[in-house]
């Protein structure tokens, strides 16, 4: 029991009074039957649910909840009857935060029936986080990849958690107050006509006994296979529930396999955009989350990914690069930016430049003209696999036309000043894209109106 007491995160003491008068207290320490932690990403937020069985007398009961060494948001404490309990027989009348004391709450509960009462205690804490870690392994011909993912749980809450159920949730949660700030506040809801002031942050480092360490290690060794991760959508969030119980020591992190997607169709896409990336193309590996060839899919939470390539049956894995991916819902194309490359070349050259179409104002000054530029873009794929190439070019004004060879090139207007050519290049293939752009300036050119309509491109 020693190690359990050192892990004890919440003490509920029960003061049995039938009426609301202060007086004699009977203290019963109630241990939770089940503890579940739901860790949010990216917010520093963890929702704790504890199932406890309390012996309540019929009538008004007073409970005292206190804690130590945890960053619990006291304003988030809720005590509710469990689902199978009639909600009308047990009611929380109010919560009281006593004067001159922190880290405790008094709760008045009215029980119409008496006896053992299953209750759920829930609250928010700070200090727990999680993130996914991905590994992508490209096939030898780079036409498909295997995506491996792991969930990494990080415990900086100040306490070791043993034998608890974990779930992790991804989604953008809007918070008014940060739980850690509320936990550190001198008064849970502040004071009238005063700004809330934080107390000095307390030391969160806990010390675990050797017995506790051995106990945790023995629990780890007992598991023979990784736990299953159950995935489900909740409103606009996605929940990953880790089957079984886990233990995580304070200050430690723990990674568990999440899922593996085999044979996801991959595309080698090279993007050239001088304005965005500079003079060299950038390599992207793209695949569709939940696309053809995959059978087990779910949204991909934002996280870091390392990309390798299979060099063949007898070869090692080749490191291709590392990047981060944003959240990707099912059906979204995921792009892995592996950085600039030198084995695919894109060289634009201005072949001709001319002007035409002059217009003049009443004083005889030039008020408008056209500029005609002829460009050649040479592309060369020195790699041993075919690639897709995307060349973005930009016009100096938003009034322009492009002449190109539609039989040879795939052209697309992206926005008012950007157009794109797409090319498929085989291994070792060279090609040339030629186009002529006419831009209109001055009276026929672009002078964009002022606008305040948000950041649209």
């Amino acid at each position: 029991m020693k190690h359990y007491l050192s892990l004890f995160v919440l003490i509920i003491s029960l003061s049995l009074t039938v009426q609301a008068s202060a007086g004699v207290s009977l203290v019963t320490v109630s241990e939770p039957k089940e503890v579940r932690l739901t860790i949010y990403q990216p917010a520093d937020l963890c929702l704790v649910h504890e199932h406890r069985e309390l012996s309540l007398q019929r009538g008004v009961n007073r409970l005292r909840l206190s804690w130590h060494g945890l960053l619990i948001d006291p304003t988030s404490l809720e005590i509710t009857p469990r689902q199978n309990q009639s909600s009308g027989s047990v009611r929380v009348i109010d919560l009281s935060f006593p004067p001159r004391s922190r880290d405790q709450v008094l709760c008045i509960v009215k029980n119409d029936s008496g006896g053992g009462t299953p209750l759920e205690v829930s609250y928010l804490i700070s200090g727990f986080s999680w993130h996914p870690v991905y590994t992508a392994v490209l096939s030898e011909d780079e036409s498909s990849l295997r995506l491996e993912s792991m969930i990494t749980l990080v415990n900086r809450s100040g306490k070791t958690y043993e034998n608890v159920h974990f779930s992790v949730l991804t989604g953008d949660t809007h918070l008014v107050d940060h739980p850690a700030d509320l936990a550190r506040a001198r008064d849970p809801y502040g004071r009238p006509q005063e700004k809330r002031q934080n107390v000095v942050p307390e030391a969160l480092a806990g010390s675990d006994s050797m017995a506790a360490k051995r106990s945790l290690m023995s629990l780890e060794q007992a598991a023979s296979s990784p736990p299953e991760i159950i995935r489900e959508g909740i409103s606009d969030f996605f929940l990953f529930t880790i089957e079984g119980v886990q233990s995580i020591r304070n200050g430690w992190s723990k990674s568990l396999p999440m899922f593996t997607t085999e044979d996801a169709a991959a595309v080698n896409l090279y993007k050239y955009d001088e304005q965005k990336y500079g003079s060299r193309p950038v390599r992207f590996i793209t695949f569709v989350n939940g696309g053809p060839g995959t059978s087990d899919f779910s949204p991909l939470p934002a996280g870091g990914i390392t990309v390798y390539r299979n060099a063949g049956a007898n070869g090692p894995l080749c490191y291709e690069g590392r990047t981060t991916i944003p959240y990707a819902p099912v059906g979204e194309t995921v792009e892995l930016n592996l950085g600039t490359v030198t084995d695919v070349m894109v060289e634009p050259t201005l072949l001709e430049a001319a002007t035409d179409g002059y217009s003049f104002d009443r004083k005889g000054n030039v008020s408008g003209w056209d500029e005609i530029h002829k460009w050649k873009v040479e592309v060369y794929n020195t790699r041993s696999v075919p690639i897709r190439l995307q060349i973005d070019r930009h016009a100096p004004t938003s009034d322009w036309e492009v002449d190109y060879d539609p039989g040879n090139d795939v052209f697309q207007k992206i926005d008012k000043r950007t157009f794109r050519f797409k090319k498929m290049l085989g291994s070792g293939e060279r090609e040339t894209v030629e186009y002529t752009i006419t831009t209109h300036h001055g009276t026929s050119g672009d002078q964009p109106p002022k606008r305040n309509t948000g950041d649209v491109k």
């Binding site: 949010y40 949730l169 949660t173 809801y189 502040g190 009238p192 944003p326 059906g331 002078q447 305040n452």
Partner: protein, 396 residues
């Protein structure tokens, strides 16, 4: 209360310390520092040690400031009675003190109110036709005690209805312990309970089931959270729950005070998860509020300016452009990655004089400079459409 405060002058800190020590000593009984001294005649200086008990104490939070109301049973003799009201080291707002005598009581009227300079003492002169024992009310503003409001919304699995709980949070740092304090809020009244100095209590005021909510995904080009990032990372759509304070919405019985609202979701298995928080203003009957939960990453909006051309340019003698019209086009791509249908509310701000010339989606001019479109999306579908418009008489 017999001590004179004239000879004792303490600093604010000393007074607070003395108050705390005093409160501790007297414990839950509370120290009634508001005392009443009744004078049977107009003679000053004679003190009667009768201390009428406070029969009730109420904190009224229905106005912009907290108001304290206490009821006391006063025994008045025939003739002029002097009622001395004093407050020792309590943060009473002096200008707000009022003695309320019920209209039903005959032949009792307040003659005058005297305020002693630089002293926490107020004296009422009350004339009484015959000896009487009456229930009077003293109303005053008390600082360092107030109430906050909070809401807890637990949506059902289908996110079309919810349970809505309203709480009041009383923060008592007034220096006084209350044995039986009742709180009146715009949503209802709480039962009396003790509230000590330095204590904060949170009490449920009302709880309603089956309150209707409407889930809204809204893209607003005027607001930063709705603006996407051009390279696809960070695309997300703000999500709101709309509640209406109407009878048809399951409410409508009174004002819902503004405050912090925590929004939860409960699935059929009974599992409750926090979706988000918002701080809202008061919701008056007949009005609605949109509670901002967070952002959905499974519904995205991409807006691209495809065309922005000047027309009908007019110049002055110096050849400077002074006026022009525009021909503009925005391309929207709205995509639903969810397994359920969704309706996206798209608000696009266009400054100046504008006229829409083409839109594949029905639209309305909800404000002078705002075009509003409602886009219905089936599960896992994408809609791409242009919005074309002219702007007239644009000045550089």
């Amino acid at each position: 209360m017999g001590k004179s405060t004239k000879a004792l002058e303490f600093s604010g800190l000393q007074r607070r310390l003395i108050m705390r020590g005093r409160n501790r000593l007297l414990g839950s009984v509370g120290l009634m520092l508001l005392s009443f001294v009744l004078f049977p005649s107009a003679h000053a200086g004679i003190n009667l040690a009768a201390l009428p008990e406070r029969t009730s104490a109420t904190l009224d939070l229905t106005g912009p400031h907290a108001v304290f109301i206490e009821e006391r049973l006063l025994s008045l003799k025939a003739g002029v009675n002097e009622i001395v009201f004093s407050w020792q080291d309590l943060p009473v707002l002096e200008d707000t003190i009022r003695l309320d005598i019920p209209d039903a009581v005959e032949r009792v009227e307040i003659l005058s109110v005297s305020r002693q300079p630089a002293e926490p003492i107020l004296t009422w002169k009350v004339h009484c036709g015959a000896p009487v024992r009456i229930q009077t009310r003293i109303i005053y503003g008390l600082m360092q005690i107030d109430g906050l409001f909070a809401l807890r919304l637990v949506s059902a699995e289908d996110e079309a209805s919810c349970m809505l709980e309203q709480y009041v949070i009383v923060r008592n740092f007034s220096g006084e312990d209350f044995e039986n304090l009742t709180v009146i809020t715009p949503s209802g009244k709480t039962k009396g309970r003790p509230v000590r100095h330095g204590e904060t209590i949170r009490t449920l005021v009302s709880s309603k089931d089956a309150v209707k909510i409407e889930k809204i995904w809204r893209y607003d080009s005027r607001k930063k959270p709705g603006v996407y990032v051009s390279d696809k990372s960070g695309k997300s759509m703000p999500v709101y729950y709309r509640i209406e304070n109407t009878g048809s919405g399951g409410l409508g019985e009174g004002v819902i005070p503004g405050g912090k609202v925590r929004i939860f979701h409960r699935n059929e298995a009974g599992r409750t998860l926090l979706l988000g928080e918002d701080a809202i203003e008061t919701i008056h009957p007949g009005k609605h509020r949109d509670l901002y939960i967070g952002k959905s990453r499974d519904i995205t909006v991409d807006a691209t300016v495809m065309k922005e051309k000047q027309l009908n340019v007019r110049r002055n003698e110096d050849n400077r452009i002074v006026l022009y019209d525009t021909d503009e086009e925005i391309r929207f791509v709205v995509e639903n990655f969810k397994d359920s249908p969704a309706t996206v509310n798209l608000l696009y701000a266009i400054p100046g004089e504008w006229q829409l010339t083409e839109s594949a989606i029905p639209w309305t001019r909800s404000e002078a400079h705002l075009a509003e479109l409602k886009i219905q999306l089936d599960p896992r579908t994408k809609k791409e459409f242009p919005l074309k418009y002219h702007r007239r008489n644009v000045r550089p």
